[in-house]
Amino acid sequence: MWQQIVFWLCAAGAVASGVAVFRVDSMARATFALLASFVFAAVTVLLVDLAYLGVLVLLMMIMEMVIMVLFMVMYMMNPAGLMPMTMVHNQKGALGISAGTFAVLTAVVYLVDWPSSGAARPADPAHALGEAIMGSKMLVMIVVGLALFATIVTTVVLATHRGRYDRYGDRLDRRSPDDPVRGGVGR
């Protein structure tokens, strides 16, 4: 019974704070509203016995949102929302499309006869997950690792404005790189 109550409270909280993301003026508040939405959703994941994945989502999302808020403040014209303004296009269309999507999805949710399983749930889902990604689903783990590595390289290449010629000179013959910020390793 208490699970029902917690689930519906969290579901309502997640959707409400999700809506708040696009309603508030302050970018910091928008980002932390999104974080609240993630935290509520993570609680519903915890409710279905997925302790590891629920806490992992919590951990990831806090880190992501703090990074996100930095970029929000950096790129938005009006980060603190002191001068309210709207930056939207085709709002009516977007509203219609998303309402339509919600209607269709809801119809599917209630019309389809979802399979249910009476099979016993594993005692330790995290262990089952570990066995899967290191066994039958190892390809997933390999691809995820490669994708993350490719992302690291790509994002650094895209985001940095200094290349190796800036650091090591036009002939790449400088012995120590010329960086605007000296690091701590003493190069």
Binding site: S26, A28, R29, F32, L35, A51, Y52, V55, L56, L58, L59, I62, M63, M65, V66, I67, V69, L70, V73, A80, L82, D124, A126, V181, R182, G183, G184, V185
Partner: protein
Amino acid sequence: MVEQAPWWSALLLPVVLAAFAVAAAMFGSVLTARTAGTAPGVAAAAPLRSAAGLLVRQRRSTLAADALLWRAAGVVLLLAGVLASLVTPLGRWSVGDLPVGVVWFNAMEVVAWAAVWLAGWGGNSAFGLSGGYRFVAQGVCYELPHMFALTTAAIGAGSLRVADIVAAQQQLWFVVWMPVAFAVFLLTVAAMAFWPPFDHPLGLDVAGGAASELSGVDRLVFLAGRWALLVSGSGMAVALFLGGGSGPLLPGWLWSVLKTAAVLAALVWAGRRLPTVRMERFAEVAWLVLIPATLVQALIVSIVVVAR
């Protein structure tokens, strides 16, 4: 071994953390008095006096502050410090022995990122915000070595449950065969609690950084949250690397208390002896030295676990 304590122990947890924090603050204050050559007796009460002073002082307000997020910052930081200790055992008892205790501990610590940034942002002050940015920059440096240190202990025990990790150290404490992970863990706990030498986010060069505009009760709650993080980090260091409550003669809870106090005292003492590390220096050290070191440590531990 470690077992779930009854529910009311959750109410005792903040009390225990506060006792550790006050004792450590007094210790630091006495050390200061000894250096300055003033009476240690008076200095021991100084933290309590300044806490009482903050409690009665009126809040300062700033123009166009984001009051909601600003007030939330201190409360969230304190809450995170207390919740992180939920899984830390004291001798035989643990308030909440979660099956994913190590991940839970890490998730609660990361909350500090959001809390410190919010404390800097909320006050609508340039110094405060740059302090908040400094902490996030420091965060992306300490977090990965910290995670790998936690992972190493979990690999050694083959479990994410803190009780299992303590039980796996019956014969040999993890600090003996994971010294690098232990050292990195202590270092990153100090960085996480922006404790000196990693107190650049509260640096004097930016007029107190993230806490510059905090005053009165807000400041007290924020600083208490910082202490809670430091104490919970020390407690976790004991559980993960120093055998938890195991030891001869004395009961388990007393060993836990003694070891935690020793780690905490070492952190407080080291913080007073070392100069502040700027985050851009720490960044390169963290990524080029600490992460490879912890990875090699994790690899060695994994090989030992598989081979044994």
